[in-house]
Symmetry: C2
Subunit: 424 residues, 2 copies
Amino acid sequence: MREIKNIKPLHMVEIKTESKVYRGILLERPELMDKKYIVIKLDNGYNIGIKKDRIIEIKDFGEIKKEKLNKRQRYNLRDDMPVVSIIATGGTIASRVDYLTGGVHSAFSAEELISAVPELNSIAYIHGRQIFNKFSENMQPEDWVKIAKEVAREIRDKKSGIVITHGTDTMGYTAAALAFMIKTPLPIILTGAQRSSDRGSSDAAINLIHSTKVAGEADLGEVCVVMHETISDDFSLIHPATKVRKMHSSRRDAFQSINTKPIGRVSEKGIEFFLDVKRRGGRLELDTKLEKGVFLLKYHPGLKPQIIDKLLEMDYKGVVIEGTGLGHVSENLFDSIRDAVNSGIVFCMTSQTINGRVNMNVYSTGRFLMNLGVIPCEDMLPETAYVKLMWVLGHTKKYEKVREMMLTNYAREISGKSYFDTLL
Amino acid sequence: MREIKNIKPLHMVEIKTESKVYRGILLERPELMDKKYIVIKLDNGYNIGIKKDRIIEIKDFGEIKKEKLNKRQRYNLRDDMPVVSIIATGGTIASRVDYLTGGVHSAFSAEELISAVPELNSIAYIHGRQIFNKFSENMQPEDWVKIAKEVAREIRDKKSGIVITHGTDTMGYTAAALAFMIKTPLPIILTGAQRSSDRGSSDAAINLIHSTKVAGEADLGEVCVVMHETISDDFSLIHPATKVRKMHSSRRDAFQSINTKPIGRVSEKGIEFFLDVKRRGGRLELDTKLEKGVFLLKYHPGLKPQIIDKLLEMDYKGVVIEGTGLGHVSENLFDSIRDAVNSGIVFCMTSQTINGRVNMNVYSTGRFLMNLGVIPCEDMLPETAYVKLMWVLGHTKKYEKVREMMLTNYAREISGKSYFDTLL
């Protein structure tokens, strides 16, 4: 099929195979696609891959006039499609194996992602933009702010929904941050991949397809995470941004909703909700103020109380403790906590059990800590409480107000005393 | 039944009810037992509670001569019973509600525990000893050493098995510490309760009964945790000490084996094993050397690299990082970690996903950290790696030896690359 080499992308072509004749626009072959295929965009808007050795004849009708087509038309000729913005930040979903070292590098741009998953074009008109190329362990709070601002820009640009591709390692932290910083009139979906895009077991394509479907089609005005539900490719779950946690280092179904049901499920067949959701609409509100001086302290037996003094020296303004059980630390920390509270540091309590609710009324330890001013964070994830305290301290440093805001449910971070507690 | 008041405990009595005549030794009524009952020890060794209003007549044969009975006989007249030592350290299993404040206080002695659960006497001859009365959030590494020494003393005293009652908050840490410190010829079982003993929903009795059964009867020479399997009272699971984690703040089935199956299950019907176990026998070895200067650092976006310098100032010798995903931290920590490593601090890596294995070969971040000398702790729980590093640094400070010991499987803390990894 030597002649294909002479036909450039964006030429209108007619391709004859043994069984059929296809007419459409020859596209650049997605980088990861098998070289034995070419891709054309059919008149109905769908992309189709055709194996070269099935081709009997190709007619070239010449280059289509780019300026005659707007971008929507160039990529997809159907007009009723939603417009989804994919914001790429890096991570495994945008990575490939370096076969020299065997390691994985973060590499793809948003455009490359889209071309690697041509099915996206049949779900929505895709607008791609790469704002970082970072593994998520390198994401910092200032990156959350940048992402939030980029998302707001896309929302103001009247997109139908937003997909953010993100490394899975700290996706939960970023998702929670966006949930506090943005009141959104449309779906904001974070997604990623546990296996890199050029591996057979990659979850990148399905996660991207399901996320785009939710972003484009769901009647939802919330920040969510969409990731594989099981180890099969059939379903993905829609998780609340503030309740989702990466619960396995490598499995594709690592993401779980904690202390709540997932918001819903997405598959090829559609989207179903398990919870009441905020629907599309309302006004975009962006509020990215953050106090970065917050520490997440995991309590452990043997922890030296002086650590609290060291955090003071480092100018931390708030500490979220990941305590034990219902929200405890050793009594040998009480004095240091008292001193730090007197210096204006805010302490919040969560539990290293991850599941369940803190309840600092049950035992004397909890009551003592509350008397010191430690704020019990209900059933918030430690990571979510950490992000929230940064956001709250970005707005006020007054203890009473901080306490009130920490105990106000802004973005599903606090569940009602639900059936999960009936066992108490 | 006024006349019961005149018969003192340890009198031989004959009690006639409408349906039956019972002969045995009148026991002190367990403090928590309904006052409508009396308890007698029958000749066959079992205790039985008889409702007072069913009693028609009581004959008093006078006090039995205490000195004529050894302790075993006084409590249980069967001779084929195992001898189990219950070491009480405090916690909810040994606590009751203070109805004035509504809070829970840790209170019962081992003897009181036993009298509150008279069924124990039909499983084993119980020897009870209270060594602390602490909520487990107050347990410190020096307490692990003390418990280990007390356990060793009981083992040398030819007991059939040991039960340690312990608060659930840090039970996992203590269990791991004992597993590293003791090579045991018999079962050492930690147990506790999520609800205090005087509440209807308390799991104290069943956990104590099942633990005593395992300690007395199981052909097992390991340290384990025995706790409720489900929210019903039928089954308890036998968890490996180094792989068990409290995964819910309040549920009775909070304890789970992570990255492994439980060792087995215990119910009224018996004990079954799911894994190969070390059997009873062999020599007791006690090795309690610990370096207490180890910190468990949970990585979070925004963590200031200076924290590492502060840990150096505090004279920490080792840091277990609870990193993200496969074992990562932000690259902005690399310099501080390098400096600390050069100062002789040992860094170990675990994952905050809790489930799964760290694999620092996959991404450039992991490879870079390994080049700095960070030791990847396979599928060890962060809490277990923390305890293990204290124990290892108690034996050597030489990096190569520390590394070798951290990567040696001493007490099930490292699983083989099992079926849990086949999804990788």
